[in-house]
């Protein structure tokens, strides 16, 4: 492994680590309105946050099992789709996480 490859791998690992927590917050914020997976991905991508299906769907399941999301299967355009939205606990969590994000963001802006 060359040093540049090693550096690239390290950057990729740290980038993923940095993104992991942010994605939960982004997904929760987008599900204030009901969406299904594909449109949620597109909405996030339009705002500059690409997320692949292999990351999004397990994340949605985890958030649902934690009681932060509710989901329902419904037919739309002749296909069954699973629609997600924030649960009351999810709304509260989004508010708390949003405040925490602002705090961390302002601290980091000062540090960086």
């Amino acid at each position: 492994m060359s040093p540049s490859n090693g550096n690239h791998d390290l950057f990729e690992n740290l980038r993923l680590e940095l993104r992991r927590g942010c994605l939960s917050l982004a997904v929760l914020s987008q599900l204030r309105t009901e969406r299904y997976g594909y449109t949620l991905r597109k909405a996030l991508a339009e705002q500059g946050l690409e997320i692949d299906e292999g990351t999004l769907y397990p994340l949605l399941r985890r958030l649902e099992s934690q009681g932060l999301l509710t989901s329902v299967w419904r037919e739309e355009e002749k296909r069954n789709k699973r629609f997600y939205r924030l649960s009351p606990e999810g709304k509260l969590m989004l508010k708390q996480l949003g405040a925490e994000w602002q705090r961390i963001n302002s601290s980091l802006n000062g540090i960086l």
Binding site: Y36, Y38, E53, G54, T55, Y57, P58, R61, K81
Partner: protein
């Protein structure tokens, strides 16, 4: 859509059973939407290579399925360092002595070079590895680990260890044991042409005198080192070097002793002369056969002595020490006595 169905089927195999249908339905819907959107954009059906590109970007089936599973392990990150340490100690304890014995036989008696049976060795190694892994997997799944983690106390942790400090108890024990041994050794084995022992007359070769006085000198020298260690309880390069020298000379003498055929004859009124000669030869042969074991023991002792010197050199050169020990700055070892 055949490629897509094959892809989903491959993922489905690795998914948790209860959620399998649900996950596949959702993933299928997403991938079909991607394909349809691309087809709308191009105004035609997608080629297989284009579908393949979408699926490849999504990830290998096993990788995709693994994201839906909780993280699983046989031995977790907390226990793993202990597991690796125990496994290493067991494997070294199993392999190294056998290798040293084989080496000793090879050096001392090449006729026994086949002593190391590799098949048996591998079975033993696998057996140890299996039992250790099983034991740790059981501990991982039982409540023992959590109990141990919750009941620890800083006061019960071992004291900070200085590998160059010599235990006073150890020095006292060494002096006491050496005095008792020397008195016994001198009383029984004092050089004389023959020894009477419970009706047996044992005749010893004259070369025994050389061994006797050499061993006695080494024993007294080691007591002297232990005496200095008692009052200056830190190893110094000079003392560690002397210990290596004495142990090396002792090892050489002991190996020479085993090969020297010291027993000249045994006689007793109740034993016929021919039987006595046969018995003498048998005893000399068995003593000589102890040589490989003696070499192994000596090699282990000398390795410890060499390691001690290397550790001291490391402290002197780099101000650090080999191993996890914390260097005690108060150690009076700079004035090498």
């Amino acid at each position: 859509m055949e490629l897509l169905d094959r892809y989903l089927q491959a993922i489905e195999f690795w998914l948790p059973k209860r959620q399998r249908q649900d996950i596949i339905a959702e993933l299928s819907e997403d991938l079909r939407s991607q394909i349809e959107e691309k087809e709308t954009e191009l105004g035609r059906k997608l080629e297989d290579t284009e579908v393949e590109a979408i699926l490849k970007r999504c990830g290998a089936p096993l990788e995709v399925a693994s994201r839906y599973r909780p993280q699983q392990y046989l031995i977790g990150p907390t226990l793993f360092p202990i597991y690796r340490f125990v496994l290493a100690v067991l494997l070294i304890g199993c392999v190294v002595p056998r290798f040293l014995i084989w080496l000793a036989f090879l050096l001392a008696d090449p006729a026994h070079r086949g002593y190391l049976h590799m098949e048996n060795l591998w079975v033993t190694v696998l057996y140890f590895a299996f039992i250790t892994t099983l034991a740790f997997a059981i501990v991982e799944r039982s409540g023992v680990k959590l109990q141990a983690l919750n009941t620890w106390n800083p006061r019960k942790l071992p004291p900070v260890r200085d590998p160059n400090r010599i235990s006073r108890f150890g020095s006292l024990f060494e002096i006491g044991a050496a005095m008792v041994f020397n008195v016994w050794f001198a009383g029984i084995f004092w050089p004389r042409p023959a020894v009477d022992f419970y009706g047996l007359r044992i005749t010893i070769a004259p070369v025994w005198q050389v061994f006797f006085w050499s061993f006695l000198f080494l024993a007294v020298a080691n007591v002297a080192i232990a005496g200095v260690n008692l009052f200056r309880p830190y190893w110094t390069p000079r003392r560690a070097g002397l210990r290596l020298l004495f142990d090396g000379v002792g090892a050489g003498l002991f190996c020479g002793l085993l090969k020297a055929h010291l027993l000249v004859g045994i006689s007793a009124s109740s034993i016929p002369a021919a039987k006595a000669i046969e018995l003498t030869n048998l005893i000399n042969t068995w003593i000589a056969r102890m040589l490989p074991w003696a070499i192994v023991t000596m090699l282990v002792i000398l390795s410890f002595d060499v390691y001690r010197i290397m550790r001291l050199r490391c402290v002197h050169l780099h101000g650090g020490s080999i191993g996890p020990a914390v260097k005690d700055l108060s150690s009076p070892m700079v004035n090498g006595n």
